[in-house]
Symmetry: C2
Subunit: 196 residues, 2 copies
């Protein structure tokens, strides 16, 4: 075996984990969210910039506003999921850098004084952290999957502000009946990885 | 415990895993790369678009060209790492969609006929896959960490083409002596997660 991670964990995080389309009624608790964050916060980002922000949509009123902003095909599962999370990035993440990178606080002004540079860094590092977050949700025994089919400007206006850009929306919960489509094919190794 | 994933796996993937600054001489094998890919290829992306591509820099000549394109502070570790991977995205990923999404091949033309839309989708979903890839490297018992301090135009010109945009470069290998800096602080839960 070339992997050190035990096969049950491989299954839990990747091989048997799937993007659910139906859910049970079992709630996702604050304790689960805390445990997920306390695990995935350690995933690396460039300059430890940590731009990902998460908005948990818990109130029925907020859920209704969000469902109305989803693409039609995503509305039923976003209405049904025990928890919905809006993942966004903070384009003003550099304000936290002196705290996040205490051995090199100059990074804030040396590299991130310009907003377009921050926006580009935030989307790459925020999406990287979204990858860790999805793995973390699965580590809690829950199904998660990214959706990008929604009104980005509407979600920003309704739930965020001008400094926060939506990245994706994730439905979270225990899979229900007939939760999966058939697994879609993946690219072969030699279509993805080349050697020079 | 709110997590299902066993504590040893939590440590391996997040809590004890770190971005290494020094490495042993132990090579990273093709079998390890294959095992990592065969695990992380199952991570979800929007429309299963799977835009991430990986260029393994194995020849001494290619390594030298790459080191010259790294920011000065990244050059010694990129020169020393047993394996260096250039992660990029394929902005023409939509050509593979009929194969990747056999139940909805129209997505190629309905959503991805315009290059700017593809570029935005590719960077978000490619960085998401980079998160899975880094977790997969750690699942193989190896250290990995993203670097964005390099000449992006130079790396694209030397190693890629006009359809592939560099995302980050990852040094991979077994950690060597004094491999870690002190762990940098992370944001508190309430700085990252809000509830509506």
């Amino acid at each position: 075996m070339s992997l050190v991670l035990d096969p049950a964990a491989q299954d839990l995080l990747f091989r048997e984990a799937r993007t659910a389309n139906t859910f049970t009624d079992e709630p996702v608790t604050e304790e689960q969210v805390q445990a997920i964050y306390d695990l995935v916060k350690f995933g690396p980002t460039a300059f430890n910039q940590s731009p990902l922000r998460v908005t948990l949509v818990r109130s029925p009123e907020a859920r209704e506003r969000l469902v109305n902003l989803m693409a039609e095909g995503n509305q039923p599962k976003t209405a049904a999921a025990p928890l919905v999370a809006i993942l966004s990035v903070d384009n003003e993440f550099h304000e936290e850098l002196p705290k996040l990178l205490p051995h090199f606080p100059q990074a804030k002004d040396m590299f991130f004084s310009e907003r377009p540079v921050r926006e580009q860094a935030a989307v790459v590092n925020g999406a990287l952290q979204a990858g860790y977050f999805i793995v973390g949700v699965r580590a809690a025994g829950l199904a998660a999957g990214p959706m990008t089919g929604f009104d980005f400007a509407g979600v920003q206006k309704e739930f965020l502000d001008g400094d926060h850009t939506p990245l994706m929306i994730v439905n979270i919960g225990k899979p229900g009946d007939d939760a999966w489509f058939a697994r879609s094919p993946r690219l072969e190794l030699d279509e993805v990885i080349t050697t020079v």
